[in-house]
């Protein structure tokens, strides 16, 4: 079309202007580089924390429903749950019977005890009383030896399957199998060591610092009045059947507890999803704050670019006059300068991505599993171009509006 300059030409003119003043372009990009690095690292760090969190709870199967006295995430509504009755072993058994084999039901209890082997001692280990079905409701399997078996539970055997950290702490290089350890004031025989689960993150339990013992032995050894609270894990046959199972479990629990329709549930249903949801809502705030701070960095960077573009437009007043005299329209001049600031910012963004990649590699190596995802890259590129366009808008408009006669007269 006659009289309409192509986009590629605007782009080339802008590029040649940047190339003619590389040093200034490079300085200008600095603010954008910092902003983009901040944005990417914030998002990558968030992503990494999410990954770490998920990994930390990887042994909590996503197809498992937990019935407990308390919800896993208590914000400021603790008083609502404080007076709830404990979940009893008998209730767990009734629930299992009522579900009629539609799902695998595993009751468990836990407490904290110090453990000891000869002179070695570790404080505050989580002791879990459970059954042989534990390996079905969680993905963890023993690395050495064996897990608990049905007869351990039936015969109240004083056997223990210990976590990797417990094993390392008590036994170091000695083979722990068949060694006798003290759990509180009770002696248990080690029959297996669980494979390493990865450390605890964000308040989640450290599965490497716990010991599994038969629930029957647990009740006998630690089952005072205060620690009879049972957690019931119920594994659905498939992820798809989770929702239906959840309703069924709620219904059966209400029957077991003989709740009237007007009464609220006095137990809680927990899932990995709830946990992730809680994590996301807390971290969402953190992410939001992080992004707010980084947008301020980007904003400052953008102001820097705007300043340079104002200088650039003023410096090239005469050039604008020449271009207008030979037929450039407003939009051609506007595009030229918009492209210029967008390209500068895009370059800054690309350099920022490069630096952020290095930073992410470092974070990945020393802190947590982090990686830059494609969506983050796209966001970074789009954000830098948008900042460029906005930063260039007012200066470019100023240039485009210049009167050609005045502009030509400019010295």
């Amino acid at each position: 079309m006659r009289g309409l300059m192509s986009i590629t030409e605007s782009f080339r003119i802008a590029l040649s202007a940047i190339m003619a003043n590389k040093a200034r372009g490079a300085l200008t990009t600095l603010g954008i580089i910092i902003g983009i690095v901040a944005v990417i690292t914030t998002m990558t760090a968030f992503n990494g924390m999410q990954n770490a969190f998920r990994q930390g709870f990887s042994s909590v199967g996503s197809d498992v429903i937990y019935v407990s006295r308390m919800p896993w995430i208590i914000m400021n509504d603790f008083f609502l749950y404080r007076n709830r009755p404990n979940l009893e072993m008998a209730e767990a058994e009734k629930l299992e019977a009522n579900l009629q084999g539609k799902a695998i039901v595993n009751p468990s209890m836990d407490t904290q005890r110090d453990v000891k082997y000869e002179s070695k001692r570790i404080d505050g280990i989580r002791i879990v009383g459970t059954t042989e079905k534990q390996t079905v409701v969680s993905t963890a399997v023993p690395d050495i030896g064996r897990f608990l078996m049905a007869f351990d539970v039936s015969y109240k055997k004083k056997v223990a399957v210990i976590g990797k950290e417990v094993s390392d702490g008590l036994f170091d290089t000695i083979n722990p199998i068949n060694k006798e350890i003290w759990i509180g004031r009770n002696k248990f025989r080690v029959v297996g060591v669980m494979e390493k689960q990865g450390g605890s993150t964000f308040g989640g339990p450290n599965f490497d610092r716990q010991i599994y013992i038969p629930i029957s032995s647990y009740v006998k050894a630690f089952g005072g009045r205060r620690s009879t609270d049972v957690d019931i894990a119920i594994k659905a046959p498939s992820i798809e059947s989770m929702e239906a199972l959840e309703y069924q479990v709620i219904g059966e629990m209400r029957k077991v507890r003989k709740l009237r329709p007007s009464e609220d549930d006095n137990f809680s249903i927990n899932k990995l999803d709830t946990l992730m949801g809680g994590f996301n809502s807390v971290m969402g705030v953190v992410l939001g704050l992080g992004l707010l701070v980084t947008s301020v960095a980007l904003f400052v960077g953008g102001i820097g670019v705007m300043n340079v573009m104002f200088v650039s437009v003023t410096e090239r007043t005469r050039e604008i006059g020449i271009r207008k005299a030979i037929g450039a329209k407003r939009h051609s001049i506007l595009l030229q300068f918009l492209f210029e600031s967008a390209i500068i910012c895009l370059l800054g963004g690309l350099i920022g991505i490069l630096i952020a990649s290095l930073l992410t590699a470092v974070i990945n190596a020393v802190l947590m599993p982090a990686s830059i995802s494609v969506p983050i890259l796209i966001v970074a590129v789009v954000v830098s171009v948008v900042v460029g366009v906005f930063a260039g808008l007012v200066p470019a408009w100023k240039g485009a509006r210049l009167d050609p006669i005045e502009a030509l007269r400019y010295e």
């Binding site: 079309m1 006659r2 009289g3 309409l4 300059m5 192509s6 030409e9 040649s16 202007a17 003619a20 005469r318 050039e319 006059g321 020449i322 271009r323 207008k324 005299a325 030979i326 037929g327 450039a328 329209k329 407003r330 051609s332 050609p404 006669i405 030509l408």
Partner: protein, 260 residues
Amino acid sequence: MNDLTAAKNKSLILSDVVKTYVMGTEKVHALRGVSINITRNEYVAIMGPSGSGKSTLMNVIGCLDVPTSGEYFLAGEPVAMMSESQLAETRNRMIGFVFQTFNLIPRADVFHNVEMPLIYGGMSRPERRARTEHAIERVGLTDRMHHKPNELSGGQRQRVAIARALVYEPSLILADEPTGNLDSKTGDEIMAMFDELHAAGQTIVVVTHEDYIAEHALRTIRLKDGLIEQDERHDKRRTQFTLPGAEPSEAHSAAGLESA
């Protein structure tokens, strides 16, 4: 209809053009009613003392500015009515500017400077290339095609500007003191180039305050206080003949309006 056909045969018709600048409460009458006809392939010098309105007239003729009142037709198009964007398009297609200070883009080489009007004209790349190379060849700078302006002499720079002015084959080349920044020998070379372009059929208007430059033209219009003082035709060997009276109406008939 006849008038319109006549208008189209003209390169340029200014009739009773007034340009008034308002400076606060004061009005500056830069042009007080100027009428000029310039036909195709004319070679006109505009002269006059400083402040007489030469630059203002140049700006109006070059479609950089519109008159306060009066009419202006360029190749039959009514310029006085044009929007800013239409003015830009008209400058692009019909006017080739040559400035005293060359006004090249310093970071662009000869080729890209000359190519620029074609870019704003939206022409395709291969066609641009052919035309640009041809224009550069016409001013004899083919061997300097990829030099930057600061690698060229003043005369060469002005030749680049001339190539840029003629690359789109404009109706009119408008030169404002084109030799003002050149020594007299180089100035002569540049004027010889205008003579050549004129001989090849180009319409040329040159603003100058030097008589020896004006002598290259075949018609001299003298301005004073925003009015035409004198409008005379002459040949190059100074055998000037002055038209009986310098009234714009006389200029009309001299330009051959009746022949249409």
